[in-house]
Symmetry: C2
Subunit: 409 residues, 2 copies
């Protein structure tokens, strides 16, 4: 059961001028599944993305990187579920390219103007002919208002579609930021991949798109973890159709740039957190905040050590304030000269640890009260600097094991 | 249920001249538990150890390090279960010291000649007075033949005691190496700590003991992982009573040094593997072998990425040859310039992956056959160098979650 997450109301998702979305049932892996999504972008749109750091990256990720590096104007995105086209070697690369060529032919653009995305089982051959057969239906289905429908079309074992939308005033006009995402873990039937797509009609100088997507990812999709397994296909793409009609934003630090950045970050963060809320088997949404680090990097070490620890995660599942497990995770995080005697820890408002040991006034019933909540914040202060980092994660439940131990077929 | 592990036959454990062991029921956490073990060492014994790298190390670990660094001749070891004395600040340190002082008083030695070890719940006050009250009974119980009994006395949620023993001929005399260990994870009721104690009567030059224990740990206790959580109390101690009567070994590379090293390594490895076989919820024993790395460090990155991946571990639990998960783990292991197209993978004798993609002759039924076994070897060849590393781990089952999600009380 997702943690405090609802399916998006289609009425709450503002269309983005210049973007249309359509879906089809192509039978990539199973019949009667919405498994192909096509997103068309108006001429003049700009696109930037961040992709998995997994060295075993999937064929479509390699093709996306190539096409973006080549500088051709992206006019369409095609996403299939059911098959990740990862671990498929040269043949997989050829099949990802063929998907682009086929869609480009139907749209009258060059193959380099199409970005392909795949999510699903690893190490199996992509049935590209089925995707091709589904493209005409997806194209015919395209509408500016189909964001919620597209969010459904990219789901794998997500239990709910994920979408978010904001509007901001920039230079006297209303600018829209709308996006969709999917998670979460690598799932029954062994799906791989986190995908996020966010579009805006803001008129952004093209050179600012990459820094904006990187910054947004670093504070959203790069700050979530379900099980620590980085997928082969993770992708987050930001689209600017530049149709809003305000004066071009030439700096992200200008008032307009900051307003847009804040809206993009808000949408990205909502989408990223939705993935955690719908994490495999999740029953709790956990915020891990590390303060007082010397650098952000060491804060990240501590935050992910906590967020990845199976012992910490099972304690959250059990509502057991067995908080020594959190201290132990901080201790093995890899901060070589950490002084354990400086560490403070809070669970929400409860002061659990002071000077590295149990706070004399801490009462287990207070810890127990917080641990029973569906949303919990763990705050650890390293007291050795001014850096902070926040990551979001979920607990580790029986259902996580059930979901991932189910046989694929 | 432990994987292919039996309780040791006490007759199979050779006593080590110069070592006696005794246990007591001190009621550290619960009544009627064998929870205190005392090991006495004859005069002239030498001791070296390796300890947790967790910066949040427990008070007894800090005291052990101090006493070993001070150079006093160690004459006794005292181990309690039920309480880890970790995350306990200055008070915990005082209590660990008091344990040493009390035992030293009873034995007529200096406190610095005692090494303390604790395993159990974190962040709770050590009931040192109960341990003190139990010491006379433990001392009275001491016998050279009590290795199996001591193995029982250090158990926490281990389902079986763990001990191993070997004899080798050195300089015409029989030399014994015998040890005990406990695991495994940080367990119901939230126990912490892997502990290993190995003793030999070999006459080893005192300066060789530390390199020998480090080398043995690096190829045994430092190559196992249940859940990736490094405990606050992990300790592995090697004792040489020097009573065997052969000429002193002055080099580990001599024939005698190599014979002794091999026996110590064999005992250490058996003890370490026993911890994995009895890992929390384990149903399978997995050997992960990485070959063809440029360095041992990068082989370790890949090996632990596989061994720690919850997705890989649940696939083993399910006997599901979902082997793309293993490739994905290698990909995110952190080897920055890894070329995925060079990777080969075998599951036991089955050739699954060639040149980074699915081996055309691989049949899923062959993978399935191996995955159903209780012992499985995963071999990944990075094909970029000559380094190799092997680690041992277990699967991730429903019982792991149950054990760790049980409330402590």
């Amino acid at each position: 059961m997702p943690v405090n997450l609802q399916a998006p109301d289609p009425q709450s998702l503002f269309p983005v001028p210049g973007v249309t979305l359509g879906i089809a049932e192509a039978g990539v892996r199973k019949a009667n599944r919405k498994d192909v999504v096509v997103v068309s972008l108006a001429e003049g749109s700009a696109v930037a993305g961040v992709f998995t750091k997994n060295r075993y990256c999937a064929a479509p990720v390699q093709v996306c990187r190539e096409h973006l590096a080549g500088g051709a104007a992206v006019r369409a995105i095609v996403i299939n579920t059911g098959n990740a086209n990862a671990g498929t070697g040269a043949d997989g690369l050829a099949r990802a390219r063929r998907t682009c060529t086929s869609l480009a032919g139907l749209l009258g653009v060059a193959p380099e103007q199409v970005l392909p995305f795949s999510t699903g089982v690893i190490m199996e051959t992509l049935p590209v002919e089925r995707i091709e057969a589904g493209l005409p239906a997806a194209l015919a289905d395209r509408q500016p208002a189909h964001w919620a429908r597209a969010a459904e079309g990219i789901m794998t074992t997500d239990t709910l579609p994920k979408a978010a939308s904001r509007q901001v005033q920039i230079g006297g006009v209303t600018v829209t930021v709308t996006g969709i995402s999917k998670g979460a873990g690598m799932i029954r039937p062994n799906m791989a991949t986190m995908l996020g797509f966010v579009a805006t009609d803001a008129v952004l100088a093209p050179g600012l798109l990459q820094p904006l997507v990187t910054r947004a990812a670093d504070a959203s999709f790069n700050r979530i973890t379900i099980d620590g397994d980085t997928s082969t296909n993770d992708s987050f793409v930001l689209i600017a159709t530049r149709q809003a009609g305000h004066a071009e934003i030439t700096s992200l630090d200008s008032a307009e740039g900051q307003a847009l950045s804040a809206a993009v970050l808000a949408v990205s963060r909502e989408l990223a957190q939705a993935i955690v809320r719908d994490g495999e088997g999740a029953t709790k949404f956990i915020t891990v905040q590390i303060d007082g680090g010397r650098t952000e990097d060491e804060c990240k070490l501590a935050a992910y050590a906590i967020a990845h620890s199976p012992l910490v995660k099972t304690a959250f599942f059990a509502s057991d304030p067995n908080l020594g497990r959190i201290l132990a995770a901080v201790g093995y995080a890899g901060i070589d000269d950490l002084d354990q005697n400086l560490i403070e820890m809070h669970l929400d408002d409860v002061h659990v640890v002071t000077q590295g040991g149990r706070n004399p006034s801490y009462r287990e019933e207070d810890g127990q009260r917080v641990m029973k909540q569906s949303e919990i914040t763990v705050k650890v202060n390293l007291n050795r600097g001014a850096a902070s980092v926040t990551v979001w994660t979920c607990d580790l439940s029986h259902d996580y094991v059930s979901i991932n131990a189910d046989y694929r077929s």
